[in-house]
Amino acid sequence: MKKILLILATLGVAAGTMPAAVADPASDLKQFQAFFKKKFPTVPFDAYANGLYVLPGMDEYREQWDLINEFPPYELGLSLGQKMWEKPFKNGKTFASCFKNGGKNIAQGYPYWDEATQKVRTAEMDLNDCLKKNGEPEFTNLDKDQGARVRLAQLTAYFYSLSKGQRIKIDLSSPGAVKAYEEGKKFWWQRRGQLNFACSNCHMDLAGKNFGGNQPLSAALGHTTAWPAQRLEWGRLETIHQRYKTCNSQVRAKPFKHGDPIYNHLQLYETYMSSGLPLTAPAMRN
């Protein structure tokens, strides 16, 4: 009896230590990207930045997407965002004063871990903080007020468009960042909602398939490169958190609030998994 317990105990210890040994972001990233390389061997790596349209079997969607891109409707929202970005505050400063390099070519590092506040910070948060610092009204009540949210999305879209083509590079060197990353990872793999789907079920296992006939499923690789994006269904630019919210309600789970830390962590995880892909935001999406 003692022997069996001893064996069980050693087994338990062995099993307990094993996951800790493999869980580090760099090897996760390798596995994640290798998964898609094996699943879609014909798709070149950089193409993933263009979402579901590059996947095999999505030719019809690709054709429509190419046609829309001749004169993409998000340009209207983007030029409103540009106006907001360039308009000086009451104290004469502009948004560019709040960012390194005037906001150019820095979006590839977003979202990032902020040591001072011990939080993950997104571009939306930084833009709102910039307004606060300069004594301007912030974008608030983003869950209920569609107008404010869309304006923030337009502004963020312009911010991202200043870094178009830059390759995603997320810094996860501090232990706090890794902890946030782990939380995002947990969210990604956890099943939720009445339909009992995890993010990974649709965007990894079923990626490239057409769900229920008219819901093409994108590959997780390159998910964040295009956001803020304009969906055909919505007809306006929206933030990535709004997309997360709708994704959650599509599996009949209760969505979190816009700007909830768990969405920041999920965004950190997803963006890190797309490391090396060029930014294409804003873009059209189904």
Binding site: E70, F71, P73, E75, L76, S79, L80, G235
Partner: protein, 106 residues
């Protein structure tokens, strides 16, 4: 009104020039209930006329109405456009607002 954006773009391919116009316009039909007050309707606000001109000469005129979608995209095809020709579009709506956009064919 100055804050309504009119974007125009041209593309010439095989002797045919595609002219595309994108107008940022609400295109309210006048039938939609006001989200704040259910008894009222959002007043109608839509583009009625949209005209194209080439080097100052009118070449196409369209009558639009409430059936056209929000932020409409309208296009025409032209033959025999030379590089440097100016294509202009002007529109006016039922509330007396108007706008225009201009592009040079390449």
């Amino acid at each position: 009104m100055a804050d309504i954006d009119t974007k125009i773009r041209t593309k010439t391919q095989g002797g045919v020039t595609d002219v595309l116009v994108l107008v940022s316009h609400p295109m309210e039909t006048g039938q939609r209930p006001d989200p704040k007050d259910k008894d009222k309707k959002v007043p109608a606000h839509f583009i009625q006329k949209l005209n194209f001109s080439l080097n100052g000469k009118e070449i196409a005129s369209t009558d639009l109405g409430p059936a056209v979608s929000k932020d409409p995209l309208i296009g025409i095809k032209l033959k025999g456009v030379k590089p440097g020709d100016k294509i202009k579009v002007t529109w006016s709506d039922n509330q007396g607002q108007s706008g225009s956009g201009e592009a040079t064919a390449s």
